[in-house]
């Protein structure tokens, strides 16, 4: 068994984003997806600070401090893109207009609850940004994360122990080991990486998984 690298995982998610989709890629791991979008598809990236049609990072020396993404990194705007203010941008997210958002996660529960903003540590400074708006607002909420914590514990859990971002919001989970849908019956495995059996995945994950 060979876990997907971060770039392989990003490419796997990218493959499922259809032509014409309006997509928000969350800060962190999901940002990598931007490098793997199929070139034969026209996909529109939304950045919650107020931009639709976001392009790649500028060539060095061409950075514009007024043109940044939600992670505050310099980006570009593609032809046909547009700028808008924060309330309009979040109306776009909250009003159900984005086809897809991809978010990182600390934990996802069997019901699709998402925990991705707060470790719950008593001394942590809470900071949420737009995570809760994306989680409730996009038509499809995809999670992209490593299957296990560094300590080897499953991030797919019966019930989130970390503070949740939103309840029953996740549609699909992409990890370095599998692709799993959240369906009314529970968690439905769609793909397992080569060399890993469903039984092994079940054992590692520790929550009930429906066979593909």
């Amino acid at each position: 068994m060979k876990r997907l690298t971060r770039d392989q995982l990003a490419a796997r998610v990218a493959r499922d984003i259809p032509d014409g989709a309006y997509v928000n890629l969350g800060i962190g791991l999901p940002t990598l997806i931007g490098n793997h979008l199929p070139v034969d598809r026209e996909i529109f990236l939304h950045s919650e600070n107020g931009m639709l049609g976001m392009g790649p990072a500028p060539t060095p020396g061409q950075e514009d401090p007024d043109l940044i993404n939600a992670g505050k990194r310099p980006v570009t705007l593609l032809p046909g893109g547009s700028f808008f203010h924060h309330a309009d941008s979040f109306a776009m997210m909250r009003g159900g207009h984005l086809d897809i958002c991809v978010l990182g996660a600390f934990q996802v529960s069997v019901r699709g609850d998402l925990a991705n903003w707060h470790t719950g540590a008593p001394d942590a400074i809470p900071a949420v940004g737009g995570a809760m708006d994306l989680a409730i607002g996009a038509r499809q909420v995809l999670v992209m994360m490593e299957h296990l914590t560094r300590q080897g514990q499953s991030k797919i859990v019966e019930r989130c122990s970390y503070p949740v971002t939103a309840l029953e919001c996740v549609d699909r989970i992409y990890t370095d080991l599998a692709v799993i849908d959240v369906v009314p019956e529970g968690l439905q495995v769609r793909e397992v990486i080569e060399g890993l059996s469903l039984e092994d995945l079940r054992r590692i994950t520790g929550v009930p998984l429906l066979a593909p």
Partner: protein, 224 residues
């Protein structure tokens, strides 16, 4: 390649089924999507709920749709006008249901539907006939009325220029309800005066980003 333009008015209004809720842009004639309304009349959908600021003027546009008896209910702020005789007669003979909303509540309810806001408290209408039976509450010392989001199945709007991605700009006061209705419908159909190339519209001045627009019917430009 994404291309939201449609080749004909018939294609623009295809699929609108009986019983649909349809927003129609415009304030009087300014911004009224005349071609789309004519196509909707020809298409034949009936038992519609229509959302518009008014209830038709003269015998064309929305008034013609009413006259064809396709509208079961209209939600608007100002039905009664000097030239609203089609509506007036239908209303007096019981041929149409009317919901009057203060104009700002109407606009805000449409915006709320597009912005994922379920309901909001507003001072407008408090203590009047138009808030009878509605929930009220005092917030920051002002009595306010709870108004609910007003979504639609379709929005028929008119814009000035568009590109194939559905980005829109409007012209002068014809902008009116177009940008908010575009956000509030499951399917937004824009009649536009001119189709331009992608990149021709200023990114700082696009009023309706293409994400809100599903079909574009150009009167002039590439696709005609």
């Amino acid at each position: 390649m994404v291309d939201k333009t449609v080749a004909s008015p018939e294609a623009a209004v295809a699929g609108i089924v009986d019983g649909s809720t349809v927003m129609i842009g415009g304030f009087g004639a300014a911004g009224q999507p005349g071609r789309l309304i004519d196509a909707l009349i020809a298409q034949g959908a009936r038992d519609l709920t229509v959302i518009n600021n008014n209830a038709g003027n003269g015998e064309t546009g929305l008034a013609a749709l009413l006259k064809a008896r396709r509208v079961r209910k209209i939600i608007c702020s100002y039905p009664r006008q000097a030239d609203s005789w089609v509506f007036d007669q239908l209303y007096r003979e019981g041929g149409i249901e009317l919901e009057v909303s203060p104009q700002g509540n109407l606009a805000e309810r449409i915006r709320a539907a597009g912005a994922g806001i379920g309901a909001f408290f507003t001072p407008t209408g408090f203590g009047t006939l138009l808030s009878e039976g509605k929930e009220t509450r005092v917030i920051s010392g002002r009595p306010q009325v709870l108004e609910y989001a007003l979504p639609a199945d379709y929005a028929l709007i008119k814009a000035h220029r568009a590109d194939r991605l559905g980005n829109l700009v409007y012209r002068k006061t014809a902008r009116n309800f177009g940008p908010i209705m575009a956000t509030a419908a499951s399917c937004t159909i824009a009649e536009v005066e001119e189709l331009v190339e992608v990149g021709a519209l200023d990114a700082e001045a696009i009023v309706t980003p293409g994400i809100f627009v599903h079909r574009v019917l150009p009167v002039r430009g590439r696709a005609v």
